[in-house]
């Protein structure tokens, strides 16, 4: 901690002058960058519409209430579809992600130079692209429907489950797997008796956690045509049926709260 001598005795400072200058320059650069970005971003903004927003909000708000609760009976089937998209998608994603995770983990990968980078690229590619974008692509390839939604959820889940699972595999205790290997076990037996008991709690915890996230995501996948509640949302928005929109949002909210509760219970029981 630097001390400078002044007329009134030594003065204490937190930082050296050089560090203070660097800190100040860093903050200045951040503010300048933000202002610059703000100017580029708002270059084409029509401020008249922005000024108008409170009135628009009040207008939409008055149209949204009261919600049309009788619409709920038409939502039960889409709700079942949404649950199926999330559950089947999670299962498919986990089934694909498990081998990828074993390829990506440093201690189980067959080759550090070939298999590991490929597996890591699969994980990053799947994680960077939101399930809505996957759904957009798959709807244009496979046609609208549940199948596109399920595959989109699965593709997005691979990265998430794969990343967390391979970290869990890397954290396993090597002495246990060595003990299994010392009995002359084959590679498959080492996986089943050495690694699996150590990663099973993490595996189920990650799967349930991802299922919870997938319920949220599958509720809106229908916006691009992949079935479920989102499809009804899109239909209601297109005809500006705001009371129905409110009902759908309430159903989505209830589903999300329910899935979060289930996932918290299950994870609490496992870990």
């Amino acid at each position: 901690m630097p001390v400078t001598q002044t007329e009134n005795g030594p003065a204490w400072h937190l930082r050296t002058p050089r560090a203070r200058l660097a800190l100040w320059a860093g903050w200045f650069a951040l503010v300048a960058l933000t202002v610059w970005c703000w100017q580029i971003m708002t270059k084409d903004t029509i401020w008249l519409f922005v000024m108008d927003a409170p009135q628009q909000a009040a207008d939409i708000g008055s149209r949204m209430f009261p919600p049309r609760l009788s619409y709920i009976e038409k939502l039960l089937w889409p709700l079942w579809d949404t649950l199926n998209i999330a559950t089947l998608g999670t299962m498919l994603g986990v089934i694909i992600a498990t081998p990828v995770a074993f390829l990506a983990a440093r201690n189980t990968t067959p080759s550090l130079l070939v298999a590991r980078p490929i597996a890591l690229f699969i994980i990053v590619a799947s994680r960077s692209i939101n399930s809505l974008i996957w759904a957009l692509l798959l709807v244009s390839i496979l046609g609208p429907g549940l199948l596109a939604g399920i595959i989109a959820i699965a593709l997005r889940s691979i990265g998430f489950v794969g990343k967390l699972l391979y970290e869990a595999i890397e954290e396993t205790d090597a002495s246990q797997t060595e003990a299994i290997e010392a009995t002359g076990a084959s590679g498959g037996q080492v996986l089943i008796y050495g690694y699996w008991p150590q990663i099973a709690p993490a595996f189920w915890g990650i799967s349930v956690f991802r299922w919870d996230i997938n319920i949220r995501e599958s509720a809106v996948l229908g916006l691009v045509g992949a079935g479920g509640l989102g499809l009804q949302l899109q239909a209601s928005l297109n005809v500006l049926a705001w009371p129905q929109v409110t009902t759908i949002l309430l159903v989505i909210l209830a589903t999300v709260v329910f899935s979060e509760w289930v996932s918290a219970k299950v994870r609490h029981a496992i870990i």
């Binding site: 029509i46 990053v124 939101n130 809505l132 390839i141 399920i150 949220r216 809106v220 691009v224």
Partner: protein, 270 residues
């Protein structure tokens, strides 16, 4: 020996890892099986359409392997500029707003009414998906990146304020006690006891949220909130899979870059 001697099983059977009671275990297996049969039977797939689509799927894979950056470069670069500027401004604005809310939502330093108000705001922001907020905000503020900026800011508040509040609740109380013992005011307490303890994690979370905001900015464009998502949507609607592949590769590259540099910065900060 006689026949009364207990015969031990000759083969070892591995014990169940998760559910010891076999009745529960087989019951759960049966329930899962019934659910799967029901669920899969309600997924009706138009196989003829899927068969037609495989050809397009092949073209998409080819487009991904031979991306076309040039023919739509103007749209792509416009979309990227919108996405990146939206991400930067929304992250900064979100952090500025979520710091006071995060402090207000920490049980150990905020009074109870403020605590409940801030927690309520966080729950509201976390319970709605970005895309739904974007739909509502586009309806209010009109198309374009400004609505996207507001969406990302709102979503950032729920994420950052919650994690910041939890971090403040986990601080080492002895340090706060020491500062309090000097007769420090509440502001001094926050500045000298709380802020040094949570700063490294706040910086880490900000960088992580920057990464998430960029990924989300690619999505909210689908509903008209500006950014690369709009460009991507157009490319896919026109079946221009080579341009779409190029956009996806750029998104992956930016996310990888952000992830790599943020882990580097976090190491340097901590």
């Amino acid at each position: 020996m006689s026949a009364t001697a207990k015969t031990y099983p000759r083969r070892w059977r591995r014990p169940a890892t998760m559910i010891p009671d076999p009745r529960w275990r087989y019951g759960i297996y049966a329930a899962i099986l019934i659910y799967l049969v029901l669920a899969i039977s309600t997924v009706d797939v138009n196989w003829a359409r899927v068969w037609d689509g495989l050809d397009r799927g092949g073209r998409f894979v080819m487009g991904f392997l031979t991306p076309d950056f040039t023919s739509r470069w103007k749209d792509i670069s416009n979309g990227m500029v919108e996405s990146l500027t939206m991400t930067v401004t929304a992250t900064v604005a979100g952090v500025l707003i979520s710091v006071p809310i995060g402090i207000g939502a920490a049980r150990n330093i905020a009074p109870m009414p403020v605590y409940y108000a801030c927690r309520g705001l966080i729950a509201l922001s976390r319970s709605l998906q970005e895309i739904i907020i974007a739909i509502l905000l586009v309806a209010m503020f009109g198309f374009g990146p400004f609505a996207g900026f507001l969406t990302l800011t709102f979503a950032t508040i729920g994420f950052l304020a919650k994690l910041l509040a939890e971090d403040i609740e986990d601080i080492d109380e002895t340090q706060a006690e020491a500062i309090r013992a000097t007769g420090a005011s509440w502001w001094q307490l926050v500045n000298y006891a709380v802020q040094p303890q949570v700063m490294p994690r706040l910086i880490g979370l900000t960088l992580y949220r920057f990464d998430i905001n960029f990924r989300e900015s690619a999505v909210i464009g689908i509903v008209g909130a500006g950014g690369i998502g709009a460009t991507l949507n157009t490319a896919i609607d026109r079946y221009e899979y080579d341009s779409a592949g190029a956009i996806l590769l750029i998104i992956i590259a930016v996310v990888m870059f952000a992830e790599y540099s943020s882990s580097y910065i976090r190491k340097w900060v901590q």
